[in-house]
Assembly symmetry: C2
Homo-oligomer: 409 residues x 2
């Protein structure tokens, strides 16, 4: 798929020396005109300094730049960490002639280490010189935020909204924590659609709710998790969308146009979110857990997450074991009331358990179907109501343990 930045954005990714590996470790994304900025953050009480700074600044009508470093998370770093995050944002703003509060920052990497500020400053300046609106620049930005990800994560859509070609393009990075604490799920989604601040924030909250909030690798919520949406309105057919005009947007989307945008944002969020467990540490399977027939979506999600977080379910899939007892018993301790004699389970489309009783099936056939495909589908059906939910996770392999145990601080 041809993946391009939306109108009015430029991006760059550079190596500035935070990562010892020599790989790209600082990304800059700039909107040439002030963009609406919406964001959703980690619910972890122990949150990183950049999360504290960004929380003060979003939602906003006038974000110009987002600076992201990988290698050091700037988490558990006390007052100095807050000052450093603020300084990092100030340098990013300065590099694109914006006011300090028009800059957002994200960090991912080691917990408890201070940012190497001289390198960050040089990196921001270097990235500002390399900003481009081409595919390579976008790809570099996606690579500059990677930690233990094995592939950069990008996704986008080009759709016509109200007759105007509109793009929604996002980058993301993975969710496991390693070496010693390479943490965090980060994502930045850009659009040239024109949006009101409240509509952008509501659309992002809803999209995250059905995507980034429905994934796990190891169930360990990070200190830095952040999803940012920028909407600069540059795709609008409105006249004179010059970079200098400051805040205020032409014809913000409403009605059908807003609905179309929300659908596209949901699709992009879902693709980005899935790409995280798909690239989970040591993972050999992306597991999709669907739960049907619940009283509420909340119930379905809770059961899905409990199944997805069970190390016994995850090891069973790693071992291609059609171990339905682990799945059904995980549902039973999710804290949701249901009638256990009305539970049905399918794995990769094969019926394993029907209305509370085991059925005859070929363990060999199920095992082969798990082994043969990187995607595993678990479908649990209750008979309590009509609500359903999907949750995505990885399997749990010895390689995950090796990656996370074999580091010495």
């Amino acid at each position: 798929m041809l993946l391009r930045l939306p109108q009015g954005y430029r991006a760059a990714g550079v190596f500035c020396g935070v990562k010892r590996s020599g790989k790209l470790d600082l990304s800059l994304v700039v909107s040439d005109r002030p963009a609406v900025g919406a964001a959703v953050y980690t619910k972890n009480l122990v949150c990183a300094a950049p999360v504290t700074i960004d929380r003060e600044r979003t939602p906003s009508e006038a974000i110009r730049v987002v600076a992201i470093n990988s290698g050091v998370a700037n988490a558990c770093t006390g007052d100095q960490g807050i000052a450093d995050a603020r300084q990092m944002a100030a340098w990013a703003a300065e590099a694109v002639d914006a006011r300090p509060e028009q800059a957002l920052v994200m960090s991912t990497g080691v917990i408890g280490s201070m940012l190497p500020m001289d390198k960050i400053q040089a990196g921001i300046q270097a990235a500002a010189r390399e900003l481009g609106d081409d595919e390579q620049s976008l790809d570099n930005a996606a690579r500059g935020i990677m930690t233990t990800d094995t592939v950069p994560k990008l996704c986008g859509r080009e759709v016509s909204i109200g007759g105007t070609l509109t793009r929604v393009t996002g980058i993301a990075k993975g969710a496991a924590m390693i070496g010693p604490n390479m943490s965090t799920m980060l994502s930045l989604i850009m659009t040239d659609a024109p949006l009101r601040v409240k509509d952008a924030q509501a659309a992002l909250v809803d999209a995250v709710d059905e995507s980034f909030h429905c994934i796990s690798v190891d169930g360990h919520m990070s200190t830095n998790d952040t999803v940012i949406l920028l909407a600069n309105g540059a795709a609008s057919p409105s006249p004179n969308p010059s970079p200098e005009r400051g805040g205020g947007f032409p014809n913000p989307l409403t009605g059908k146009g807003l609905e179309d945008f929300r659908t596209t944002l949901f699709e992009v969020s879902e693709d980005l979110a899935q790409s995280i467990p798909a690239d989970g540490e040591g993972a050999t399977h992306l597991i999709t857990v669907e739960v049907h027939g619940c009283r509420s979506r909340q119930d379905a999600l809770r059961i899905g997450k409990t199944i997805a977080d069970s190390p016994l379910v995850k090891t069973a899939i790693a071992g291609a074991d059609p171990n339905w007892g682990r799945i059904v018993s995980a549902a039973g301790y999710a804290g949701v009331q249901f009638d256990p004699s009305k539970v049905t389970l399918h794995l990769n489309g094969l019926l394993l358990y029907e209305r509370g009783a085991p059925v005859d099936f070929s363990p060999d056939a199920v095992s082969k179907s798990i082994a043969a495909d990187r995607n595993t589908s678990i479908v649990l059906i209750l008979e309590e109501g009509k609500a359903c939910a999907r949750f995505w996770t990885t399997d749990l392999t010895a390689e995950y343990v090796r990656l996370n145990a074999d580091y010495h601080t």
Copy 2:
């Protein structure tokens, strides 16, 4: 330690053919006089048939026998499973001349398989012939309930309560699920103290709350978890404690005597509970998580369990990595409100994090202290209140994954 059955109990463990390994797989514990029976069960909605039967029968004033098999859990087995559990109890009662409702049953092993009833019947009859009150009989009973446990788990105390020598002796088995679904934490605690039913049940609930409810291996709650307390009053100095006298107990403990018993029960429960993660699948460390300075014990327990269940914390200990960021960030997502700038962390007695900020420490020294000792101590101190709690878990090793992934149903 000399470990003996309390007065008036006999036990046996035999091989009846449920396990393919040829190891002991059926245990019988008999109280020669009717005993008060208290019990605490799994909260899993998907509970096994023996749990359903025992729930109907406890608390009780007149339990005579407990039959336990390993190898098949009799869980997710529908109506047939319930009938089988009832029949198993009936055979156990018959073997000791008791009424059917005076028998309790426990099962542990594969989920979704039916009990091999002919073998169970023969096993109960064989065990009844081998009942003894010696140490070997007790040891056999402890071995007959093992699944993936590497050692039998027994613990006991002999104390003087109100001038009468009283014993509290328990057996238990491990908590991980394997091969394909060897599940379950089971424990049976026997005492010759005289107790009222309500006092026995209350004492057991309180003891379990601070012991068996404070351990995890993989956080996967089993379908069969059961802890039973039998109290037959045979230690009482009361005259004529003959087996034939039926219900009703001489001088049930009250006041100081009851308090002394509760303390002893608590100690035995804690020892038995700890022995489970200490023998966790693939485990190389028993981790004790202490959380201090909380507003309530509930808060402290929730934080302790969240830390204990984090695969990242567990892999860090397996790798002897003093990875405090993983511990502090796990506390942050436990769902308990606290001031993250007032968090202090010690690992094996060494200060790693103080009032929200990293401190200088020797990673090498901490790493060596983890590697050198099978026991790891994590102490997290908040400044919200005075409540505290302890939680025990294992580390997470590649061996755990191998054990749980490499089985094919």
